[in-house]
């Protein structure tokens, strides 16, 4: 199915969860937050939160900023 991850249209498995998506993109970051369609998905809910077609997902981490 098609979802949008960090602004990019992405094909993911039909049974993909937030946890699976984050694992692919973690890239060494341990302090990460995920928004699905604008709402926070708490870390504790990642494994039991399935993605749905058309979901807009943001995977966020710290960067330098004032």
């Amino acid at each position: 199915m098609k979802v949008t991850v960090n602004g990019t249209p992405t094909e993911v498995a039909a049974d993909a969860t937030v946890a699976a998506l984050v694992a692919e993109r973690l890239d060494g970051h341990d302090r990460v937050a995920v928004a699905r369609n604008g709402d926070v998905v708490p870390r504790s809910a990642w494994t039991r939160t399935p993605l749905a077609p058309g979901d807009v997902v943001e995977v966020l981490a710290a960067t330098a900023g004032g």
């Binding site: 960090n6 602004g7 993109r25 973690l26 890239d27 060494g28 970051h29 341990d30 302090r31 990460v32 937050a33 995920v34 928004a35 604008g38 709402d39 926070v40 708490p42 870390r43 943001e58 995977v59 966020l60 981490a61 710290a62 960067t63 330098a64 900023g65 004032g66």
Partner: protein, 275 residues
């Protein structure tokens, strides 16, 4: 000379004790340092680490961005090593809705309910949008966040933010990154008087004298980023800012002399010989 040395030595411990009794209390937490440092614009992680250490800061701002953006994992390691507390910001948000969502995400990512609330209303000046800002502040306070609100130097808006339950009100001296210093010192002093929570001068600081002035005007702390991170020598400027904040705070507590139109002789005229 000998007498002077003895007096200086006797005075120093007393002042140190006095400084110990003058911590910054912010959101129920106590800080020795009254300098908050932003990480934006930092040229390298080494420069960041050196600047954080030289500044003596205990509270450092970070932003939240899409994960592929940069090698931020190591920035967090630098900040962890320095033992500073993180203050996530909502930089780039234009509406209360975006800012509230960003604060919730930051709480999830960093495990802190502290947030530097920024809601920007104009691209060129990056000035705060007062209406969206107050709305976001009220929502975040209701959700249990410790809100440090970046705002204009309007004393009335400052008071409203304090009344809304913000832990600190943070007026700008001049636009973000401009280095123009404090363009309206009178407003900063008025805002200080109007607000009962800590006031942190945020944005516009260009050099050490600007930071000292903020403290002399009665601000409780200074938050700056560009002035240090974009200085030719960030570590040196960080130390300058630390000393300026300390000097300004001491001067504020010491009580400056009134300004006069004419001279006021410091040497007595009595006993002046007729020559």
């Amino acid at each position: 000379m000998a007498t002077e040395d003895v007096r200086t030595a006797a005075l120093a411990p007393a002042l140190e004790q006095e400084e110990d009794a003058d911590p910054l209390v912010l959101g129920g937490q106590t800080f020795r340092s009254r300098l908050l440092l932003g990480t934006g614009g930092v040229p390298s992680l080494d420069a960041l680490e050196a600047a954080v250490r030289a500044s003596g800061t205990q509270l450092v701002t970070v932003a939240l961005r899409r994960v592929e953006a940069s090698a931020t994992g190591s920035m967090m390691q630098v900040l962890d090593r320095a033992g500073v507390r993180l203050l996530p910001n909502t930089a780039g948000c234009r509406t209360a809705r975006e800012a509230v969502r960003t604060a919730r995400l930051a709480r999830e990512a960093f495990g802190t309910s502290w947030v530097k609330l920024e809601v920007i209303g104009d691209d060129r000046t990056l000035l705060p949008d007062a209406v969206e800002l107050l709305d976001a502040a009220e929502q975040l306070v209701a959700e249990g966040f410790t809100v440090l609100a970046y705002t204009t130097d309007d004393p009335v808006l400052g008071r409203r933010l304090g009344d809304a339950g913000c832990a600190a009100v943070m007026p700008l001296g001049s636009p973000i990154g401009s280095g123009l210093g404090i363009r309206n010192p009178h407003n900063i002093a008025l805002l200080r008087d109007a607000v009962s929570v800590p006031v942190v001068l945020d944005a516009g600081i260009g050099t050490a004298s600007d930071a000292a002035l903020a403290m002399e005007l009665g601000c409780d702390a200074v938050l700056l980023a560009s002035a240090v991170t974009r200085a030719r020598h960030p570590e040196r400027m960080a130390l300058a800012m630390r000393q300026a904040v300390e000097a300004g705070r001491l001067a504020s507590r010491a009580g400056r002399i009134p300004r006069r139109w004419h001279a006021e002789a410091s040497t007595p005229f009595e006993g002046l010989p007729e020559l």
